[in-house]
Symmetry: C2
């Protein structure tokens, strides 16, 4: 329900054509280049026709808990002329929080109010740097969600509420950010079996200077939220930890993006950036 | 886990004496004036002796969900020379959030971190005005808590998390405050049987201009969070609603207090204000 936009982008270009053509470059280019592609589904839905040439260029790793599909859906919706790309993306992708961050930028809370998705921007200390461990292991959000028990204790719910307040205070002002702000009793522990190296990698980032650490979305990506001065050290430690764990993957150093969706209607194409979610 | 300090105060004065004497004026003066009085228990605990003359002057209605006991405990702890009045109050009263608001002032999140209570101040739009319906009906927080089921659905927990984010955004900037920000699936509905007029009174405040409405703590007090321009109208509507419901009580118009605990060590007495929680 909370997401932060980071500086990895998805560009989608949609043009009229005689038949559906989907081209994709960069991250996710291995997925189907046909009408089942999320960008195609969104564009066809918005444009009301499949006579479209769609080009996707993505810097956001797919199925890693980084919100790539929400970013792609928002970009595709906007590139197809949707009036409310957030609504389309939230509907087609199902992750309103990610879609909200991709659309609005910065730190965003999304809430469904009277059947509409409301994106609320919250204060974000832009000096924060996000070290992101991206294991080369795809994890379906659906599968990750299935591991979660449908009932939780009232105590755990209250615990997470108190941590959310701490986290929002710390994200607004990095001087207030503490390791406990990302403590969680509702998700992370249940998901560890899907990525057994996670607890150790999180501990490595915390020990090397990250102010707070957590899973990114449903994982398997992991975040180390850092001061800029610490980011390099945390990155090196994370890379070493990843190598030691024998888990292939990358470590990215990302920064908050405050612009959100950018629609460029000049020229023939409509390049469009949508921000990745951390 | 979140509380806001409002401008109703508790003053506690603690002096050495030959034996325990407790005097209390104002709200709560009908409760026992002996060693079982919360102020006495706190002062004796902190001072390590019961040879104390304790004077309590309180403007905070007792057992109404307004945090009177946390305010009293924090004031008594400070007046008795406690180094960490928040820790003492949270321990003796059990409501860390209320104690944190009374101690620090403003909008505060409290979280237990490594067995210590951490008070985190969050941004608060000081133009907000709180219309508070205080029914003349005592409600024990313990009893109110007993009504809550120990397990909640994951969906309800996530719902409340999303509402908390909305609420924090709205309390930081009243232009963002919406009725949905105080929606709650974990507490309020379960407590309505304790105060059946509550839903109608809340609706009355909302209809007359309050930006958002909710129970105050475990109730029975009810809050209408308003712009200053609307506060008077909301107050009148709340008073009329109360009269119609045949529930005796008061309607207060309170403002945020940003000072928190004030300790005055000048002169012979040590008057001390602690702020009520809304």
């Amino acid at each position: 329900m909370l997401a932060v936009a980071l500086d990895r982008y998805v560009e989608v270009d949609v043009e009229p054509a005689t038949r559906l053509v989907v081209r994709s470059e960069g991250e996710g280019s291995e997925v189907s280049d046909d009408s089942s592609h999320l960008a195609a589904r969104v564009a066809i839905d918005v444009a009301g026709t499949d006579r479209l040439a769609i080009t996707v260029r993505s810097q956001v790793p797919v199925a890693r808990g980084l919100g790539s599909s929400a970013a792609l859906a928002a970009a595709a919706a906007a590139a197809s002329g949707a009036k409310d790309p957030l609504a389309v993306a939230a509907y087609m992708d199902g992750h309103a929080d990610n879609a909200a961050a991709s659309t609005v930028g910065g730190l965003v809370a999304a809430a469904r109010i009277k059947n509409a998705i409301r994106a609320i921007r919250l204060p974000l200390d832009v000096s924060l740097v996000f070290v992101v461990i991206v294991p080369d292991v795809a994890l379906s959000t659906t599968r990750a969600r299935q591991l979660l028990p449908p009932e939780v204790s009232r105590e755990s719910a209250a615990f997470n509420l108190s941590r959310l307040a701490l986290l929002l205070a710390g994200l607004a002002d990095s001087r207030l950010l503490e390791p406990e702000a990302t403590e969680d009793r509702l998700h992370q522990d249940y998901r560890s079996p899907l990525f057994p190296a996670a607890p150790r990698l999180l501990a490595t980032m915390a020990a090397s200077g990250a102010l707070a650490v957590c899973w990114s979305g449903a994982g398997p990506s992991l975040l180390g939220i850092c001061r800029g001065t610490e980011a390099h050290t945390v990155r090196s430690a994370a890379a070493a930890g990843l190598a030691e764990s024998d888990v292939p993957g990358d470590v990215l150093v990302l920064h908050p993006d405050l612009h959100g969706l950018v629609v460029d209607r000049e020229g023939s194409g409509r390049p469009l950036d949508v921000r990745a979610r951390g």
